[in-house]
């Protein structure tokens, strides 16, 4: 695809748009940017593009701009059916998403992961597993670095692993992963899609160009997902938490089994697994399945299964100390997220919660706290309110700092217990953001020394 002197319009700036502009300018295209936001709100993006010969149309889209372009590249944030895009398409002007543009220049086999939930964990896991096997891999897409940024590099890696959202899949034409994984489909993003069928259709676009040499990894437990097994051209391989599958990964005798097309079975142990929750087992099976297709040796995969701490701040394993395990779930800023985290543990929990109240109802936590939480340390502005709502259900203390909370929890813990930071509140009363809160928590935990330490009460 030759971009030299082509008039290319980039719609929507943000991070991906910036990367696309850079790439296009680097290929000698005459780039124009159109963004609905005024210049004032795009400060950082404009600064990042300073010095590049780019034309601007900010604060709204005009039709002539769209109709004059040779090619239109759309950022993930922009709906594909807005009027100027529809008109341009009607005029025969090619309209593509950023991943479609990138895929035209991609020279490495692509593993693309999509689904409503678990994309990031699975993408990260596959990256880790490939690296553990001694294969180099670029990991990005919807997370981290956009694909378009990668194709501007020399592309020395053996594999490209990309998280792809359904927004990015719209506006793909020739996008063709070597291995695609569709993890699950639930009713999310209905704000953007006119109906659920449209959303399912968008997800299915990941398979549209795959042929018999390619693979689709599908969740056999989710009918909206496994229906694609009957529709795709490529080879299908399944994973299931509910039943054995002839070819693919499934749960068996407390571990994960992978069965190849040759009937050979490989077993993976979950004894040292650090990540929590049923959804993470599905992510893990999807990752194992993809990596077994890539020809990874099972021992290397087992190493990643044993060590992978999870995504930072999302039920992230931090440390084992005197038989007590610490998890950082700083991103659990609402009640629903904390419910999910609490059900992930069969062991007694010492919970650290609190921060700035988001105005939610703490009711859904009551039963879980009564059943599973051995002690609770509350911090931040919300501590009085949370104490009132939940304090009577378990031993509860109100402390002033995160340090005090961690020390109190550790002093109460016996071997086999879990210390969990899962605040159910935002962090802004005491921290810059949830990341800083999580990092602070981890550094306190790393600083703990032996069980003789008893924190201030």
């Amino acid at each position: 695809m030759d971009l030299k002197d082509k008039k290319v319009l980039v719609v929507g700036l943000a991070r991906t748009g910036v990367a696309a502009v850079r790439f296009l300018a680097g290929r000698g295209a005459r780039v124009k940017v159109s963004d609905a936001k005024p210049a004032g709100e795009l400060g950082a993006a404009l600064k990042a593009l300073g010095g590049l010969p780019v034309e601007w149309e900010l604060g709204g889209h005009t039709l002539p701009t769209f109709l004059k372009a040779d090619l239109i590249v759309v950022s993930p944030g922009v709906p594909m059916d807005v009027e100027p895009l529809a008109k341009a398409r009607a005029e025969g002007i090619p309209v593509m998403s950023e991943v479609e543009l990138a895929s035209r220049f991609l020279r490495r086999p692509l593993i693309a992961i999509t689904g409503t939930n678990g994309k990031t964990t699975t993408t990260t896991l596959i990256g880790e597993m490939l690296r553990a096997c001694g294969k180099s891999a670029f990991v990005g897409g919807n997370i981290g670095n956009p694909l378009i940024e990668y194709v501007a590099t020399p592309q020395k890696e053996e594999w490209v692993v990309a998280e792809i959202s359904s927004f990015q899949l719209e506006g793909t034409l020739k996008f063709r992963p070597k291995i695609s994984a569709l993890l699950n489909i639930t009713e999310d993003h209905l704000d953007r899609y006119p109906n659920f069928q449209e959303y399912i259709r968008a997800k299915g676009m990941i398979f549209q160009n795959q042929d018999r040499e390619d693979w689709a990894v599908l969740n056999a437990d989710d009918p909206l997902t496994f229906q694609f097994a009957h529709r795709v051209e490529c080879q299908v391989i399944l994973f299931s938490a509910q039943r054995p599958v002839p070819v693919g990964s499934f749960l068996e005798k407390g571990g994960i089994s992978f069965q190849g097309a040759d009937g050979k079975k490989t077993r993976f142990s979950l004894e040292r697994l650090k990540i929590r929750g049923a959804h993470n087992l599905e992510n893990l099976m999807a990752a194992i399945t993809a990596c077994m297709i890539c020809g990874c040796p099972p021992e290397a995969l087992q190493g990643v299964i044993d060590e992978f701490p999870g995504l930072e701040h999302r039920l992230e394993w931090v440390r084992d100390m005197d038989g007590v395990t610490f998890f950082n779930d700083s991103k659990g800023t609402n009640v629903g997220a904390v419910v999910k985290s609490l059900v992930s543990f069969q062991r007694p929990i010492l919970l650290i919660a609190g921060g700035r109240d988001k105005g939610g109802d703490y009711g859904p936590l009551k039963r879980l706290i009564a059943e599973r939480v051995k002690g609770m340390a509350l911090i931040g502005e919300a501590k009085e309110g949370m104490d009132g709502a939940l304090g009577g259900l378990t031993e509860t203390v109100k402390v002033d700092t995160l340090e005090d909370a961690v020390h109190w929890a550790f002093s109460k813990a016996v071997p086999g217990d879990v210390v969990l930071l899962s605040p159910a509140c935002s962090s802004f009363d005491m921290f810059e953001n949830y990341q800083e809160r999580g990092k602070r928590f981890k550094s306190i935990v790393y600083g703990l020394e032996g069980h003789e330490f008893t924190g201030p009460r």
């Binding site: 009918p223 097994a229 009957h230 399944l238 509910q242 039943r243 002839p246």
Partner: protein, 391 residues
């Protein structure tokens, strides 16, 4: 061979096509599972081909056997079926597969007595209805004995439990009684009386109610009870007009326990498409028409009832199976004659064809109306249009 006439060649050819197609489809549906479970992807193919060879042998034997001899065998066969079904559910001998006890095992051979019971019931009915010609209006003579026999067999198969076979047996009895001219009042009251019993049975075994409800909307429980029927829908959908190609179906990516037995029709839909499905339905319709032809031309009343019963046996099972697989009827175990994997079912179906062939070889040209026997109220011993009009 009184007339020395040739048996119906079209009936034979249609049967052989269906059996061959069955063997191919059983292989296509089962080779992945067979390869992994037995280390031999031909496992089910071999067993089905052996059963077919044996069944075809039996069919030719039966074709050569004067069908009047079945009159003598009727009661012993019925008694044998009852005995075997009884053995099956004896606590000490119960051998369960998937929650039901349907097979008798003798070392390497296994046998499904319920299949024999279907055949024996038809022969018994043909004999009994012939003997009671003219008394069919009587409740005590024409109705009660047959319903009692049905009741015993029904109770025995239900004990396995095998609700599907029970439905087939009941349908056979009612349709044959109807053809023989029983008072509609008896049949109607029996059906009405069966409604509460049916409801009780459906609600008592929780999986049965589950199946009943799930067929209305399988997507309510897609990971459990609805899984198989959803797969079946997807398979038909994927097959479109010409199918995805023999052996290329995607149902074998899942362990679907019944895909080469009860759900084989969905594999045909998937791999051979609407065209394949239409051809198979066409073959069955043709076979059933030839069966009715044998019935119509039979030299005597016993031959008429026997041919009608054998034809209905195939027709009812075909209709039930296709209905279940296409989601028009609640899910329950029933095989597609000639095609589904299962030796006993295949051999019994082939024997039924053998009997039809023998009757056809003894039949004359279309007889005039006077010669043709009728029930007392003028209902002919011919099938009503509804018997096969459902296709």
């Amino acid at each position: 061979m009184s007339s020395g006439r040739r048996f119906d060649p079209l009936l034979l050819v249609t049967t052989m096509i269906l059996v061959s197609l069955g063997i191919i489809m059983v292989y296509s549906a089962s080779f992945v599972i067979a390869g992994q479970r037995f280390g031999d992807s031909y496992h089910f193919l071999k067993k089905q081909a052996m059963a077919a060879a044996l069944g075809i042998g039996l069919m030719f034997f039966v074709t050569k056997m004067n069908y009047h001899r079945w009159q003598i065998l009727a009661l012993p066969l019925l008694a044998l079926s009852g005995l075997l079904l009884g053995i099956l559910i004896l606590p000490g001998l119960r051998h369960e597969i998937g929650g039901s006890a349907r097979w008798l095992r003798f070392s390497f051979l296994s046998f499904q007595p319920a299949e024999l019971a279907k055949l024996a019931l038809v022969i018994y009915l043909a004999r009994s209805l012939t003997k009671k010609e003219g008394k069919m209006k009587s409740f005590k003579m024409g109705f009660l004995p047959h319903v009692i026999v049905l009741g015993v067999l029904f109770a025995l198969v239900l004990k396995q439990p095998d609700f599907g076979t029970g439905i087939v047996l009941a349908a056979l009895v009612f349709l044959l009684l109807f053809a023989a001219g029983t008072r509609l009042l008896f049949l109607g009251s029996a059906v009405l009386a069966a409604v509460p019993a049916f409801f009780y049975l459906a609600t008592r075994a929780h999986y049965r109610m589950e199946r009943l409800l799930i067929y209305l909307n399988p997507w309510n429980d897609p990971s459990n009870a609805g899984f198989q029927i959803i797969q079946s829908f997807l398979a038909f959908g994927a097959g479109k007009v010409f199918g995805v190609g023999l052996g290329d179906g995607r149902q074998k990516l899942f362990y679907l326990p019944e895909v080469h037995t009860d759900f084989i029709f969905s594999v045909i839909g998937e791999e051979l498409g609407l065209v394949g499905v239409t051809v198979v339905i066409g073959l069955f319709v043709f076979l059933i028409i030839r069966g009715f032809r044998a019935c119509y031309r039979a030299p005597d009343l016993f031959g008429t009832y026997l041919a009608l019963g054998m034809t209905l046996l195939i027709a009812i099972q075909t209709f039930l199976n296709m209905g279940v697989v296409m989601g028009l009827l609640p899910t329950k175990g029933s095989t597609l004659p000639f095609i589904s994997y299962g030796g006993t079912s295949l051999m019994i179906s082939l024997m039924a064809v053998g009997i039809l062939l023998n009757i056809s070889s003894q039949g004359g040209e279309l007889r005039d109306e006077n010669h043709h026997r009728r029930g007392g109220d003028g209902r002919a011993s011919l099938p009503g249009p509804g018997s096969h009009g459902s296709f």
